[in-house]
Amino acid sequence: MEAFALMLSSSINGGTVLALAALGLLVNERAGVVNLGAEGMMLIGGLAAYATALHHPSGLAFAAGAGAGAVLAALFGLLVVALGTNQYATGLALTLFGSGFTAFAGEGLVDKQLPDLPRPMIPALADVPFLGHVLLGYHPLIYFAAALAAGLAWFLFRSRPGLVLRAAGESPSSAHALGLPVLRVRFAAVVFAGALCGLAGAYVSIVYAHLWVEGLTAGKGWIALALTTFATWRPARVLLGAYLFGGVTMLQFHLQGRGVDIESHLLGMSPYVATILVLVLISRNRAWVRVNMPASLGKAFRPDN
């Protein structure tokens, strides 16, 4: 029981990174924009947060991470939304720039130790059986991610601005004809996603890994992108999927901890193979994906005056 609780809580911890990023990406995909720059924005956010956390309180560091992600996303938005560049190519440029820039600017931070943050996670509540592990004593951002999923579900499907946002992703020309500001909505959605990806990166560097190395996020941005498809663009399913993936990532450490004899490189493949499997499972039902996918996802929109 105790081992199971520990496993569950560490899955939630690991899944939160994916949840934060994927919830952001969900919003910009609902608005019709695919941003393959997720990985780059997470790296930049992670580096900005880490550099800030060395000398400042962690609240400020998280803000720096989110801010850095948002700035990079704004650059992407400028190209994709305002100039109508190819979304795939521009997103790739963002990821390539992000990984290059963070490798360059972060080289001096690799051996810098973060001051020990008060980590309210597991030890303090070890005495409360089961519930203590599963429900209490996490980092505040974990509750934030769960609340965000609920908030986004309400926003997207129960509020008028959410309807406008979805209209921009389903049929931008109709939305434009109705006088809705499609381009502004898309831009705002992109920046929002950038801030969340930056925040997710900050969570990786400050809380999850507690260190900085080149390429720290190790494909989590890409997995988050896959998660939005897996979740058929619904916030609650994103959250669930993220915890599931968090579990897969954690599984390797648990197996190793229990002395299961699988070579670490081979075990390390599990999150990536799991992502492929999940993509295959969800995509094989084409009708299901097509019904749920924003109809104008990935397509540039230019209003004709």
């Binding site: 790739l92 992108l225 492929i276 295959v280």
Partner: protein, 358 residues
Amino acid sequence: MAAPSVSSPPSSGASRLLSARAAALLSPLAALVITVAIGAALFAALGKPPARALAMFFVEPLRDGRALSELLIKATPLAMIALGLAIAFRANVWNIGAEGQFILGAIAATGVVLFAGPGAGRWVVVALLVAGVAGGMIWAAIVAWLRDRFSANEILVSLMLVYVAELLLGYLVYGPWKDPEGFNFPQTITFAEATAIPRLVTGYRANWGSVVALASTACAWLFLYRTYAGFQLEVGGIAPRAAAYAGFSPRRALWTALMISGGLAGLAGALEVAGPLGQLTPHLPVGYGFAAIIVAFVGRLHPIGIVFSSVLMSMFYIGGELSQSRLGLPKALTGVFQGLLLFALLACDALVERRKRR
């Protein structure tokens, strides 16, 4: 879509063609100028003399025979991978996992070398190159099959397979393929003389891989512009509906695009491990597979353009290394410039496109 404007007279076909060609060349050049300008500002901000720093990128790599040979060594894999990617991108197949296919090519080639043993004859070079192509193709075939059979997104699958390939490489060189007399370093034995790609000129590291790359360029050009299969592929990419009406199979285009791009990336991997490296190590992947995406776009997805853009990207790599050894800047500077170049290119393309529309 806006109706064609009546007020402006239609431009003659010839001059329009000329301006389209000029525009196609203009935006990579403009993007390069922008990247260099930002680079100069960056160097100045870091307190390094910009002129000297930029010389590391654009003068030093051309200085003498040895420098040119190093330039060729890096341009070769970049060009080969980019040629395949250009064909895939033209077919609107987004293979972004060339890095993984490159690694698999190198792994397959190494497998042949290890299997053949130290006494192997010169034939092993051919065998290892064939194995490299096959390795890259198999890795790309996973992508093609999952896309074809289950419509799984090729971007995400090919990218995930890069991580799997890196881990597979790690597993092999830390585990079963580790040189038993290598002082526990994670690397295979040093390959025998017989397996080495022959050099172009004695005393210089540049090898026949560059000739293979040039031949690939010619083949890619012939395929794209002189074969029916190439034509079908391109129509499918530009106008999938027209291709469907014409009866061109999108499945065949998907497989062709991935087999060509995977095979070329695998070949590049085999040439790399049997050429400049001479053994399999975890340091094999240096991002050529990703840089080649930029090379393909900067080269306008055209084989001839790619020859030039691969040399440019090779300069970025060498400039980054020289900045590290001589100016004390991190080598990762190369990645910053790569990203900037692609950003600038996309922006310039969009602006040129806008002007054309007016």
